[in-house]
């Protein structure tokens, strides 16, 4: 899923400083799963902002609406009747949300309440870790399913580097050296020689380096199948 963290109340309050009436839009997708932008978190943000504004003596009116997803126009459309009744709209989805909203509703202002961080999963209750960088050409079959692109600080395809120590990366002792894990797994499986080959320099244009990306599924473009 896409993982995000909520911005500080201070930052969000600054965004809505001039507003008297706002809408907070949640998302029932990824950000509900990582407990940062679903129904509950929308309520908490709304109440926190109201407390702050009451304290400041400038009350704010806040409505809430949590959509199925904010990355699909069919759901974005569901607020079309009311979206312009507000001074601004705060989105609690990943960075995709405010942009889909902004593209559909040209006359409204949209603010992000979250800092979108990475594609990952929960390694324990309350802890999420990065696993994929969406590089556009998955190569992890070579590394037994572990990704050096997203999880090695240098995205090395032939690792580990000299900074690997006691299974930790040189950037921090709390960061696993994924190359240590890759080598360890190969050794445990008796297939260390898999790593002796040279992996060709890869074409990073399929990643962000090639500019914004697009995915087209011809058969779907032609109609439902």
């Amino acid at each position: 899923m896409i993982v995000a963290d909520r911005k500080s109340l201070e930052e969000i309050l600054e965004m809505v400083e001039d507003c008297k009436k706002i809408l907070i839009v949640g998302c029932k997708g990824c950000v509900t799963v990582c407990n940062v932008g679903g129904v509950k978190e929308v309520e908490i943000l709304s109440s926190s902002l109201k407390i702050a504004r009451k304290k400041a003596g400038i009350e704010i009116e806040i409505d809430m609406h949590t959509l199925e997803r904010q990355c699909d126009n069919e759901y974005i459309e569901q607020i079309k009747e009311t979206v312009n009744d507000y001074d601004a709209v705060v989105s609690m989805a990943c960075g995709v949300g405010p942009q889909f909203l902004s593209e559909m509703y040209k006359d409204q202002k949209f603010f992000p309440a979250l800092d979108t961080t990475f594609f990952g999963g929960a390694t324990e209750h309350g802890v999420w870790e990065e696993r994929c960088a969406g590089c556009g050409t998955c190569i992890i079959h070579k590394y037994d399913g572990l990704c050096p692109v997203a999880r090695c600080a240098k995205s090395l395809l032939h690792g580990p580097c000299g900074g690997s120590s006691n299974s930790a990366c040189e950037i921090s002792k709390d960061t696993e050296c994924v190359w240590d894990s890759i080598v360890r797994k190969k050794m445990e499986q008796g297939r260390l020689e898999d790593l002796l080959g040279v992996t060709e320099a890869r074409d990073w244009r399929s990643a962000r380096d090639g500019g914004p990306r697009r995915s087209i599924r011809e058969e779907l473009v032609q109609g439902n199948i």
């Binding site: 500080s8 109340l9 509950k40 908490i44 109440s47 926190s48 304290k55 400041a56 003596g57 400038i58």
Partner: protein, 117 residues
């Protein structure tokens, strides 16, 4: 045993403190309560195993939020006592009221003059 507790404490009963949510505590502050506290069973004695432990974590979350907003976090608190401790219940109520009186009225009033202080 007839024990008295301050009349300005309004009790809201829940089946277990696990039922109390962050938003309930925030709403109380938002609606102008000077303070709000959760009185749960003793730790280790929750009928539902961990309701009171979860309540404590929620109280701590709200305290953090209030701090972020420049409001005294002590306005929200968690206490643990057993249902057999009637005297302790009255004592806690008095303790909370005294503490909140020391803090003064809530700053969440929508009156600009509050900020002048």
């Amino acid at each position: 045993m007839r024990l008295s507790y301050p009349a300005n404490v309004k009790i809201i009963q829940v089946p277990c403190t696990g039922r109390v949510d962050i938003i309930h505590l925030l709403n109380a502050i938002e609606d102008g309560a000077d303070g709000v506290y959760v009185a749960g069973c003793l730790e280790g004695e929750c009928h539902y195993i961990s309701g009171n432990l979860k309540a404590r974590r929620k109280v701590e979350y709200v305290q953090k939020t209030l701090k972020e907003l420049g409001i005294e976090p002590e306005r929200v608190a968690m206490y643990n006592l057993s249902s057999a401790q009637g005297a302790r219940f009255a004592e806690i109520a008095n303790e909370v009221v005294t503490k909140i009186k020391e803090l003064g009225p809530t700053p969440v009033t929508n009156k600009k003059q509050n900020n002048a202080a």
